[in-house]
């Protein structure tokens, strides 16, 4: 099993803990343990007490909601360097989502009760943890909102688009009649152009 010295080094190498003080890193290492998950294993379950958070070192984790009827809906996939779970910070410490391993996952698990105790005793650690967790929480919240917005759908119709109900298009012109129509279109364009040129 890895000693806290090794763990402290591993923690320091994670972007999430970038720049953290060596002393605080050692405190964190005292609450951490490497943990592996097999495909489909739950790291966190909706509604179940979740007193740990995980830092993914390898593999992927799916964050999902489980509607009462129907299959789970995956909201986000997380990968190496990402943290999973913040219920350990917020009473009543019950998982708000389910997080499952997609394939094999290597993670560092941090015991929430252990950490909260150390954060009380060492306010500098408390500050560091919140400073790092709050942006993650804010990002996940705004990402969830963006998903609700339907980022890739057509833009919200602008007023000028709503001027008239779009009519059913007439059938596409057959190739044969097209040239005459092209000539007519050219003629009307020429009129438009001349008008434009007339304007000061």
């Amino acid at each position: 099993m890895a000693g806290t010295g090794d763990l402290s080094g591993t923690i320091g190498a994670q972007p999430f803990f970038d720049g953290i003080d060596a002393e605080l890193r050692d405190l964190l290492a005292g609450c951490a343990a490497p943990m592996d998950f097999a495909d489909g294993d739950a790291l966190i379950r909706t509604g179940v007490i979740a007193r740990a958070f995980y830092l993914i070192r390898a593999g992927e984790v799916e964050v999902m909601v489980e509607p009462p009827a129907g299959p789970p809906i995956v909201l986000e996939t997380l990968g190496p360097g990402d943290v999973v779970g913040w219920s350990w910070l917020v009473p009543p410490h019950r998982g708000a989502f389910t997080a499952r391993a997609r394939g094999e996952v290597e993670a560092l698990a941090f015991d929430g009760a252990c950490l909260l105790g150390k954060m009380e005793a060492h306010p500098a650690l408390g500050f560091e943890m919140l400073r790092r967790f709050v942006p993650v929480m804010a990002h996940r919240l705004s990402a969830a909102r963006l998903q609700l917005l339907d980022l890739y759908g057509p833009d919200v119709p602008r007023p000028e688009m709503l001027e008239a109900e779009p009519e059913e298009p007439p059938p596409a012109p057959a190739a044969a009649g097209v040239r005459a129509e092209a000539e007519a279109a050219k003629a009307s364009l020429a009129i438009v152009k001349n008008r434009a040129e007339d304007e000061p």
Partner: protein
């Protein structure tokens, strides 16, 4: 005596040579000039496509700028004209004026990392710039394509994405909002991919294209990741009539999107992005 210059307002007649169904509502037309001439354009530019007897709409060019023998357009059928375009088949003719508008500044970005951020059908107007970057690969640092779609079924240009991903000199990351079927890729909004980085923000230029709301959040994520507004470019859509700065139909604040855009440097338009219904 000199021959008169061709009138840019008059549509040239093109014939549909190939139709590709991309998605349930999105299709690609490859068209060749009936007069046999070629067609040059810059990545990011658009044409006005005339379906005779129905109307004309602006559509970006989605083909390879190195291929002048044909024009490629990828369109989502949303209304009268785009649906009529969707009804065209091989051999049908349509009118084309253009190319119009500004380009993705691909040459000004030589020596820098390139980050393409696309959402939905927004990958189409970026494709010529990606093709250009691939053809001039040694002139750039890292090249990333970050693409978001609603579901796996809505992913455009799957073959291109697979081909680009197969290269060792570029990174292609695709994410969907909603996983369906046996999707084993990333789930989440495209801004998540931006925040993961993989480029040098001090040395990167980003081209962003998709629905306006996606571009706004995409540009914000790029800024958050450290890319300055002057190095972020977006492509804006507004209803158009003439396509060349005459009618004022596409006015957007101080700009005419057809001639000052559609590609804008983000620092020049960022404030307008947040004004509703402008």
């Amino acid at each position: 005596m000199n021959a008169p210059l061709p009138d840019p307002m008059l549509p040239r007649v093109f014939r549909v040579e190939k139709v590709r169904r991309e998605l349930s509502d999105t299709f690609t037309l490859e068209v060749v000039a009936v007069d046999g001439g070629d067609f040059a354009f810059l990545p990011g530019q658009f044409n006005l496509l005339y379906v005779f007897g129905v109307g004309a709409i602006p559509i970006s060019i989605s083909g390879d700028p190195a291929d002048r023998s044909r024009i490629v357009h990828t369109t989502r059928a949303v209304g009268a004209v785009s649906r009529a375009l969707n009804g065209l088949t091989v051999g049908d003719e349509l009118g084309v004026t253009g190319p119009f508008g500004s380009m993705w500044p691909v040459e000004a970005a030589y020596g820098r990392d390139l980050v393409f951020v696309a959402g939905g059908v927004g990958l189409a107007p970026l494709r010529p710039a990606i093709n250009f970057a691939m053809a001039n690969r040694d002139r750039y640092g890292r090249v990333l394509v970050l693409y978001g779609a609603r579901t796996p079924e809505d992913i455009l240009f799957k073959k291109d994405l697979a081909r680009w991903r197969g290269r060792f000199d570029m990174d292609v990351l695709v994410t969907v909002d909603r996983a369906t079927g046996n999707w084993s890729g990333s789930v989440g909004v495209v801004t998540n991919l931006v925040l993961k980085g993989g480029f040098d923000p001090q040395q990167a230029t980003a081209f962003v294209c998709g629905p306006e709301v996606m571009m706004r959040y995409g540009a914000q994520a790029l800024e958050k990741r450290g890319i300055g507004r002057k190095h972020i470019w977006v492509s804006v859509e507004r209803n158009m009539k003439c396509g060349c700065g005459l009618c004022g139909h596409c006015q957007w604040g101080p700009y005419f999107v057809c001639k000052d855009g559609p590609v804008f440097r983000y620092d020049r338009v960022a404030e307008m992005f947040s004004v509703a219904e402008l």
